[in-house]
Amino acid sequence: MLETVFCRTPALADVTTHYCPGCTHGVIHRLVAEVVDELGLRERTIGIAPVGCSVLAYNYFTTDFQEASHGRAPAVATGVKRARPDLIVFSYQGDGDLASIGMGEIVHCANRGEKITVIFVNNAIYGMTGGQMAPTTMPGQIATTCPLGRDVELAGYPIRVAELLSTLRTPAFIARASVHTPLYTVKAKEMIRRAFRHQADNRCFSLVEVLSTCPTNWGLPPAEATSWLEENMLPYYPLGIFKEPGGEDRAPSPLGEKR
């Protein structure tokens, strides 16, 4: 008899996605779905879809879903979780969605310690609307609204969301991972697993920032897009865990005193 050694995880719908070839949104979907299944959470999970390339995420998972307006997924997730604390709630958001229009919602959701999990996909660009500059676009990176490359004199430096949110005292778990090679992907899955585990154990807010590719709007073939991510994004967006439950609070060093 043949033995099945690998199959699609049940939380991932058996459909073709609309993602571009080489886009890592699909990889991140699979990691989330595998974790949801491995933790046995599918039947009580509600996903919150963003506005961005992953707007149709509700078609790609086999969990209940609610579509949020642009940037408000953390507020929608708050509503669901407060109404039904027994459910597992996650939002899936891009960098324009979370770090630009939705910056207020994510900061306050994290700071209230809502018991939700956020999967934050940082591809350094607005994918869905055709490649405009995002708050996470790299210095010098070309986008349709910074055709000469991001000028930090005008647009400032890219926002490091994981670092920013980890200055808050409340959140339970904040990490950054990447999915540009299989090895990094395995590590990313472990980060996502920990984030969901914290929620399942009733600990507060968890977020995993996942560095992702957008070959289409970066104007690069898929293989080159993964090396571009490695060369340009990894040095600026270090990977790892920024905050864990019971972690230290950040304290400033007093003026004139050495640390």
């Binding site: 009580r44 408000r72 509503g79 109404a83």
Partner: protein, 362 residues
Amino acid sequence: MAKKLMKGSEAIGEAAIQAGCKLFFGYPITPQNEIPEYMSHRLPQIGGTFVQAESEVAASNMIYGAAGSGERVFTSSSSPGISLMQEGISYIAGSELPVVLVNIMRAGPGLGGILPSQADYFQATKGGGHGDYRLLVLAPWSVQEAADLIQDAFDLADFYRNPVMILGDGLIGQMMEPVEFHPDRKPCKELKPKEWAATGCKGDRPTNIINSLFLDPAALERHNHKLQAKYEAMARDEIRCAEYGTEEPYDVLIVAYGTVARVCVTALEDLKEAGIRAAMVRPITLFPFPYAQVRAASEKAKAVLVVELSCGQMVEDVRLAVEGTRPVHFYGRQGGMLVTPEEVVDEIRRLLTVPQLEADHA
């Protein structure tokens, strides 16, 4: 249950709790702060949840999320905050979710002032946010009616799967009046279980998706037709209004809603003493608007006077109702200034000296 002296804001909060609402998300703004304050102390007592949102934008999206899970939820705010909530409201209407919203209107535009106003009539009844949608809008004129309408609002919201707005003014929120609650009250509509809610797809139930995105234009058109059919059903089944003095003959018909209508009732008494014949229709549902009732009552009058705390927004609906068969006049105050009974009496005296009217009156 015995009558209790309560502030309008508190009666609104208590009525929501009596209606089985255990969730409130909101952001402070005068003149309705007593509603969130009341909810923040009452909800924990009954095992409910109060969240002070970071903004009205967030609050409107939190109620959207909570309603998606099938639980009863409400929020309250005042004019500038309601403007910020339009994003969530449009999504709630588009996704067909039941929520109850309270707007204790203050004077605008812009930051305006904190005193009573009715200048958000257009925003409440004609859309407010983007897209073809309607709120069911209820306008109480007393604390008791506010409490009763809140409870009906939850039933109507669930029945139609549509946002329902209670449109009050600063006076409704601030005044104290005796209120009676009826714990054995029955829902005003027959309600079905919320099988559409996103609550986790147990077993082999297909996934429930709360959504207003339709990328196929034909599907979106069908969705719009479905929404319109719902608004037509509301216009057929939910119109509420009250009439004052319309059984006697009269020359002038007043149309007013909310606390302004109470001022006009005093004016009607004064007019009667002065031998001037007038009557009033008070719309209680502003959407659906009681076009037929206003039309029928106007036919017995020579002229119609709309009284509002705005620059004349309901006037447009009254004109639609009478379809040019009677002159429709307007009297109103703005900026938080109130209408007095004397002003209404004077305005009606003035109207009756308009040559055409006077001739008919003689």
